[in-house]
């Protein structure tokens, strides 16, 4: 019985059907299934599948984004149950994501966020034009493992370094790891500012993030 249900759950994510995933989450509560099982044996399977397919070029961005939305909706439905049990979902890691101050390029950062969420990270996306204090403040508030910063302009990429310097000054590294990205970000730059990781695209961002939390794919 529950095997069937898990399959349906995975399928609802693959189809990006938020209504369906919420309905199934509710059903699992009625059936008194353990919410953690529901997530890991049901919904996560769907997210992983779509993520793999996307990496292979066989699924498209809207599918990935919609799968992420369906996943979020399902987890939100289950969260109160988890609370009641005093348990929490195991996440890959918590990531605070932002485009740096003075920069309003949004799309790349949002895609990275989508991919990270789809891969099991808890993502706090602060949006664009975010000053160092805000980024670091949020990271402390949610006890983030990783800060991810996007910069698309050669004039704003220096802000990434400022955040890193600030973190160093406060002695917050290596507790908080930093990864950077955006059109002008090169390996040279990443090494120069002593970030912990960088990537030229969203799939690479997930790989790096997994490495940074010590959960790299074999």
């Amino acid at each position: 019985m529950s095997e069937e249900l898990y399959k349906e759950m995975a399928q609802s994510i693959i189809e990006g059907d938020s209504d369906k995933s919420v309905e199934l989450a509710k059903k699992s509560i009625e059936l008194q299934m353990h919410p953690l099982d529901t997530i890991t044996k049901g919904f996560v399977v769907g997210v992983n599948y779509i993520g793999d397919q996307f990496g292979k070029g066989e699924a498209f961005l809207p599918e990935l984004v919609m799968a992420g939305e369906a996943m979020k909706a399902a987890v939100a439905t289950l969260e109160p149950e988890l609370m009641k049990l005093g348990e929490s979902r195991e996440v890959m890691g918590r990531v605070v994501l932002a485009t740096v101050e003075g920069d309003i390029h949004e799309i790349g950062k949002t895609l990275v966020g989508t991919m990270l969420s789809a891969s099991g990270f808890e993502v706090y996306d602060l949006g664009v034009d975010q000053p160092a204090e805000k980024i670091i403040g949020k990271a402390l508030e949610v006890d983030a493992h990783i800060i991810g910063m996007s910069a698309l302009l050669t004039t704003t990429m220096v802000r990434q370094r400022e955040v890193i310097e600030e973190l160093d000054k406060e002695g917050l590294r290596p507790r908080i790891k930093v990864m950077v990205g955006g059109a002008p970000i090169t390996k040279d730059w990443f090494q120069k500012i002593k970030a912990d990781g960088y990537s030229e695209d969203a799939i690479g961002a997930v790989k790096i993030a997994k490495q940074l939390v010590g959960k790299a794919d074999a």
Binding site: G57, F60, L61, P62, G102, I104, E106, I107, G108, L111, L153, T154, T155, V158, A183, P184, T186, D188, D201, A202
Partner: protein
Amino acid sequence: MQPKLSLLTDELIARILDEAYQLLLKPGIKVQNPEARELLESAGAQVDQETMVARIPGQLVHTALESVPRQFQLFDYEGNARVVYGGDAIHFDPGSSGISVLIPETLEHKTAETPDLIRILKVAETLPQYDAQSTSVVCHDVPKDLHDLYRLYLVMLFSRKPIVTGAFTNETVHQMIDMLSIFAGGRENLKEKPRAIFDVCPSPPLIWSNFGAGNLIALARAGVPAEIVSMPLAGAAAPVTLLGAVTQHAAECLSGITIHQLAQPGSPIVWGGAPAIFDMRKGGTPMGAVETAMIDSSYAQVGKSLGLPTHAYLGATDSKLVDMQAGMESAMGALVGALSGINMISGAGMLDFLICQSPEKLVIDAESIAMARRMVEGMKIHTDTLATGFYEGVNFKGGDFLKQKITLQLFQMEQHMPSVVIDRDSMRGWREAGSMDTFTRAKIRVKEILASYKRPEIDPDKERDLHDYVLGLAKESGLETLPLLDEKNPLPDA
């Protein structure tokens, strides 16, 4: 007759504009600049200060459209009109603000520095296909506060052509206008005969950022031409349909023009853009996609229906090398832009989604631009009869037309003569010349151009004033001297 590409019917244009006007009311335009909100509100727009959303009534837009100049010109260093914005005039300039350059020997994408920009400027200055220069790459050997204006400084020293540029902040736009004024002989003269136009971007979807709107207002008041570069990214930051993207483009431009004309009625502004479809496999913004070109061509048609000057980003490629894909996408873009009668077509030289510039690509693109221009000249009637008058003395013999005087007289009017970059040699000739591919020939052509380039003569007093002005700003950013420019042409202090 100038051949024209029309992807839209009049009926469709009317629908696009009708829906664009609807978008201005619902959901409205998010205007993040307080002064722009104030301008809109006092003119009768409904503004929610909390959400920053302005609902702009059609009447306001109509008034703005009435005061926009239908045509204006850009001038060269000497004050000659060189670029016409308006009607179906077409011009080309290199793509702007690249981050890296392609190193032809190693094929590496290297972060751009002063010598790279100078090489690009020399090439674009020499090639007649480029009617204007652009501030084509950012030089990373100067402090970031100078990134935008330092590019302009180099263009002004190495070129006499009109300039397509842009400022990266609300402060530097004023400094860049000051720089241009030094050469023009004051702000009034600059207004009279502008040498440069500034790109200004709304943020898709339907946002005028504090920065973007601020520069619109600054340029309007200075009377320096502004070029709206609206970028609906279809499927990500705009509707996935091409027509949806064209409609959003219209709404972003109409709202921009309204803010601009409220700040200063009659200031010159251009209906332009750099839209793209969004690649659903990789998440990129392909500039070389045919659908991207279709969005450009269509929005230009919409702008023309309003009688406005037009601009687009076409003729760039997403390839990382100057290869077959680069040639194919760039030529297709140039041709579509030319056939659409777009006044300024930016993008030449660009690789990798507008990130990387290449002088070698610039010389190859110049060839496709020349071909596109030839196409736009269209079919010409040179003679009283089309053919019948040509057959006297021709005895059913191929080659006889070569004997005719008229062949010699007319062939250069009928045929565009490409440079050596285009191979039309025999196999033997090609082999003897070294069996080179296009890229190799382009490398040689770039070397030749660089060797023969001479810096334009610029009034030494103006040059010194400009230098001192930029040096003053450089010192504020911690730079004591400006980087050495050219051994052959040392500048004051350099």
